[in-house]
């Protein structure tokens, strides 16, 4: 496998980690905000409790007197064990009731203060009373802190759970995206390694990755088509050029032998010439196909009359067809058939179809050369009543150099149908091979006044 760090760096785990870290930072900030706000809310709530108690006891002292209040506080200290403790001091600084936490000397100034008494922290509220004496309310902060911790704990747990969920989702999503991207990258790597049949996976969910994969696959199909064409050309070129070149060499070396009659020598030279011409014709045909397929020939498109073209070709081929023991019927509509095209290539293409028909249809067959105007197109038809071509082989015979095997040894470069197909493509149409019941019906389907296409065009997705 070829290393592609830039493409392969994005592992799903890394992606999830990055997302989780970002989420964790956000959560930490949130937790701190909850901490500060919670602290404040709890403090103000506890102060409210302390002040309510203070107001109650101040009123109590006012109505019942300090002694009654001191007794009530003692009672309360014996029976209640909450966060709050209460004490009352008289004007002389003696504690007369309630909690014994602080002595009068140790009392802070009136108002709230925090003191550590023994092991515990207390918030102390000192309140001098109008009836005399001082009310002291102690709040053990351990409770408040416990409560605060509980809130923080709850919030923290919630946040941790969310973080875990986010991380999991990021991991899953990241894995999905990276997997999709890697699927396409894998296809690209296989292609680079020479496997032209590799395709980007299409998940069928119609997302941006599918769109990308479909576009890439269309491109790959076209490339594969061209490459297969090239490969067939290389293979077949070897065959189609080697045979005449070998015969050419044979004829020439035999012509050099001593003791040959002048006539025999001339015959051999003529044979060599014939083989040589076959090689040249193969090259010429290849060039025509290459130019037509690349669209370069388009500049030579000009207005022409297809009816005249068909009649002309009928004229040219009739004697050959008749010599092969066949009959040629030319069917052309009345009047001219105006069309813009590459006349030489069209003549060549139709000529090749006629050649094939004459060569393979066999004696007694009828060959029909026709021009059939249809809606927005012209069909140039060459139909014969010969043995035809089996349906499964019709696509194959259009390819370059492919001749059905039994015909392989017969002369001809096997490029005839390929030229016809390339010609149809140049004109924005196609070569169709159909069953003529019996025989083969070859149709050059040429659209009228349609921009000739440049190769495989992807349908644009409407968004």
């Amino acid at each position: 496998m070829i290393g592609r760090p830039s493409l392969r760096g994005a592992r799903p785990a890394t992606l999830a980690l990055v997302v989780a870290a970002a989420v964790a930072v956000v959560l930490a900030v949130g937790l701190m905000a909850v901490d500060v706000a919670g602290e404040r809310i709890i403090a103000s709530r506890q102060h409210l409790v302390a002040e309510t108690a203070r107001d109650y006891f101040v009123a109590f002292a006012h109505e019942e007197g300090l002694d009654a209040m001191a007794r009530a506080l003692d009672h309360r200290a014996r029976t209640e064990h909450g966060a709050f403790e209460y004490a009352v001091f008289d004007n002389d600084g003696r504690r007369i009731g309630g909690s014994t936490l602080l002595t009068a000397e140790a009392l802070p100034a009136p108002g709230y203060a925090t003191r550590t008494i023994g092991d515990a922290d207390y918030e102390v509220l000192v309140q001098p009373m109008s009836v005399g004496g001082t009310l002291v309310i102690y709040e053990n902060l351990a409770d408040r802190r416990g409560f605060h911790r509980a809130i923080l704990g709850a919030v923290g747990t919630t946040l941790l759970v969310s973080l875990a969920i986010v991380a999991a989702v990021a991991l899953w999503l990241g894995g999905l995206l990276v997997r999709r991207a890697h699927g396409i990258a894998d296809a690209a790597e296989k292609i680079a390694a020479g496997d032209l049949s590799a395709r980007a996976p299409v998940a069928g969910v119609d997302d941006v990755f599918d769109e990308l994969a479909v576009a890439i696959n269309a491109m790959l199909s076209r490339i594969e088509e061209l490459m297969t064409g090239m490969r067939t050309v290389t293979d077949s070129l070897a065959h189609d050029l080697r045979s005449p070149l070998t015969r050419l060499r044979g004829a020439l070396s035999r012509a050099q032998e001593e003791g040959l009659s002048p006539d025999a020598r001339l015959g051999l030279i003529a044979e060599a010439q014939g083989q040589n011409e076959q090689v040249l014709a193969t090259f010429a045909a290849l060039l025509d196909i290459a130019r037509a397929e690349s669209g370069l020939s388009r500049e030579l498109m000009a207005p022409l009359d297809l009816a005249e073209l068909v009649r002309d070709l009928g004229d040219l081929f009739e004697p050959v067809v008749e010599d092969a023991g066949q009959r040629l019927a030319v069917v052309v509509p009345e009047g001219p058939a105006a069309f813009t095209g590459h006349e030489l290539l069209l003549r060549q293409a139709v000529g090749n179809l006629l050649h094939n028909a004459a060569r393979y249809a066999g004696p007694g067959a009828t060959i029909t050369l026709g021009l059939e105007p249809a809606d927005g197109e012209f069909d140039l038809v060459v139909a014969d009543t010969g043995p035809g071509v089996p349906a499964e082989q019709r696509g194959r015979v259009v390819e370059r150099f492919v001749r059905l095997d039994e015909a392989r040894s017969s002369p001809g470069s096997g490029l005839g149908l390929a030229i016809a197909a390339a010609c149809a493509k140049l004109h924005g149409g196609r070569l169709v091979l159909e069953d003529n019941h019996p025989g083969l019906r070859a149709v050059l389907r040429l659209p009228v006044a349609v921009e000739p296409h440049q190769g495989t065009v992807l349908p644009l997705r409407s968004r």
Binding site: E277, L287, P319, L344, R347, Q348, H355, P411
Partner: protein
């Protein structure tokens, strides 16, 4: 006076082959290897025909042809090219050339075409009747007679015969016939032209003691009274 041919060709072997052939055929030949020299020679001196390679250094053959025509020189030009595809011939003719021949070619093909070009250039008056020996074609009535006897010819045979009569006594190659009579690229695997010729021959020569339509071995055909 022997006819003068200008050859613009940079490949020494091809040039030697053509020059030797031209001189053996009785032409006077001048040779330059550079396009600019070709343009200079073509516009400053009088030639009967120019044979121009499509790709020569200095200035390519098509540009030279265009420049020669722009300078008002009407000398027939035949372009030689290794570019064998169908479009090339049209591009060459559009540039102002009179004929186009693909490499590799046989000298007989080149000679036949040159003869054809120079005849064409000599400018004849409009004819109403063409003939060869006792064979006659009336261009207005499209009637063919031989030794006073009317021959029944199909339109395509008439077309072919007319071409032969217009090139009487000259060698006409199969390629020339296909290109000029039918606008069709020559295909060596077929006997297209031979079939047409044998049918024409049957009509105009069969039953007469002296054949007019001759096969020229290795080149093509010739219509003439001389064997």
């Amino acid at each position: 006076m022997s006819r003068r041919i200008l050859l613009v060709e940079d490949d020494a072997d091809t040039a030697d082959y053509i020059l030797k052939g031209l001189r053996e055929a009785g032409f006077t030949a001048e040779h330059v290897a550079d396009g600019r020299d070709g343009l200079y020679m073509a516009s400053s001196s009088d030639f009967d025909a120019i044979v121009m390679d499509r790709m020569v250094p200095g200035m390519d053959g098509l540009s030279v042809t265009k420049a020669v025509r722009a300078a008002g020189v009407g000398t027939p030009i035949l372009i030689l090219s290794a570019l064998a595809h169908l479009d090339e011939r049209v591009t060459g003719l559009r540039a102002g050339a009179d004929d186009y021949l693909t490499k590799p070619f046989g000298f007989s093909e080149l000679a036949a075409r040159l003869e054809n070009l120079m005849r064409r250039g000599s400018g004849k008056s409009v004819e109403t009747e063409l003939g060869c020996g006792d064979l006659a074609l009336d261009l207005l009535s499209r009637r063919v007679t031989r030794a006073g006897r009317t021959l029944e010819l199909l339109p395509r045979e008439l077309k072919l015969l007319e071409y032969f009569l217009r090139h009487r006594d000259r060698v006409v190659t199969r390629t020339m016939l296909l290109e000029e009579v039918w606008d069709y690229r020559f295909d060596p695997h077929t006997s297209l032209i031979d079939t047409h010729i044998s049918r024409l021959r049957k009509k105009i020569d069969e039953g007469f003691d002296k054949p007019l339509l001759h096969t020229v071995r290795g080149s093509g055909y010739r219509l003439s009274e001389a064997p």
